[in-house]
């Protein structure tokens, strides 16, 4: 699959089946959630739970997901049983489904496109500390804000795990200002 999404690829072909049993996290469409944790256990649990269960309110279809992570996609797939969901690796390696941490524009474009094209979706953006270590904080914040703006106008949710030890209080406050806190 290429780096950019076509509307048809955001549909049923990316839906996961039977990885969880019941929906345990009630994340609202159009909202972004910050999770202060390291490692990102709750973030992945919520993401996997939502892509593999029907909505709490009894909606018909499953939620489509997109994960961007610092962990190797094969490890993520194996641990969380993800088969259909696209998993992109933040790394300085060439390859399919690999995004360089310095390519913030491409990353933002991909996430925005997914949000625009998906009526019921969820994005997991894991590895913000790695993005900050490869760019300056302001650039990363601008990218997160840009994605967040599009999330607000879409049927998608964003989960952003953040290791609070990696940021000073002011940076953390700036990251959190337009987001809900999970946990």
């Amino acid at each position: 699959m290429g780096l950019f999404f076509k509307k048809s690829r955001s549909g049923s072909s990316q839906k996961e089946s039977r990885l969880s049993v019941s929906r345990k996290y009630d994340l609202k469409p159009g909202r972004s959630y910050i999770v202060q944790e390291s490692p990102p256990h709750m973030s992945f649990d919520a993401f996997v739970n939502i892509v593999s269960t029907n909505p709490v309110a009894g909606g018909a279809g499953k939620t489509v997901g997109l994960a961007v992570t610092r962990q190797h996609p094969e490890i993520v797939r194996e641990k969380y049983g993800l088969e259909e969901t696209p998993v992109y690796w933040l790394a300085t390696r060439a390859g399919d489904k690999v995004i360089s941490p310095t390519n913030l524009g491409i990353l933002a474009h991909m996430l925005v496109k997914f949000a625009e094209d998906t009526s019921d979706g969820i994005i997991l953006l894991d590895g913000i500390e790695y993005l900050v270590s490869n760019n300056d904080f302001t650039k990363v914040l601008r990218m997160v804000d840009q994605v967040n703006d599009h999330i607000t106008q879409s049927g998608c949710r964003l989960i952003l795990p953040v290791d609070p030890r990696a940021f000073d209080p002011k940076e953390l406050a700036l990251l959190m200002r337009n987001m809900d806190k999970l946990a």
Partner: protein, 118 residues
């Protein structure tokens, strides 16, 4: 409400017990393997049993079957640190009501208990 936590990792049992206490469930019993779990279950008859799918002696699926044979109204929640579809399927077929990914958290735990308490 009595809750039994079955996991061979003492550290995980302590974390889960702490999460349960924080969520308002103070009557928590722990067991480290199949035998201990059966004995604790017989003695306490907990409403909920959280069972790690991989135990040192018999499997979590065996324990689920045994518990439900003793008490068909008991609620068994399977747990594992990886999502293995076949294992989840086996747990559900054995009668487990739900599945939790380890390490779990207050939100997922409370949600499961609320859902299956009703």
């Amino acid at each position: 409400m009595k809750i039994l936590v079955v996991d061979d990792s003492g550290a995980f049992r302590r974390v889960l017990t702490e999460l349960l206490v924080r969520a308002g469930f103070h009557d928590v019993i722990e067991a480290g393997d199949f035998k201990e779990a059966i004995s604790a279950f017989k003695e306490s008859r907990p409403k909920f049993t959280f069972v790690d799918m991989i135990l040192p002696d018999k499997s979590g699926v065996d324990l689920t079957k045994e518990i439900l044979a003793m008490s068909p109204d008991a609620v068994v929640i399977a747990m594992s640190s990886i999502i293995n579809k076949r294992m989840i399927q086996q747990s559900l077929e054995a009668g487990a009501k739900d599945f939790l990914l380890k390490p779990t958290n207050e939100i997922a735990l409370s949600s499961v208990i609320t859902m299956w308490s009703e």
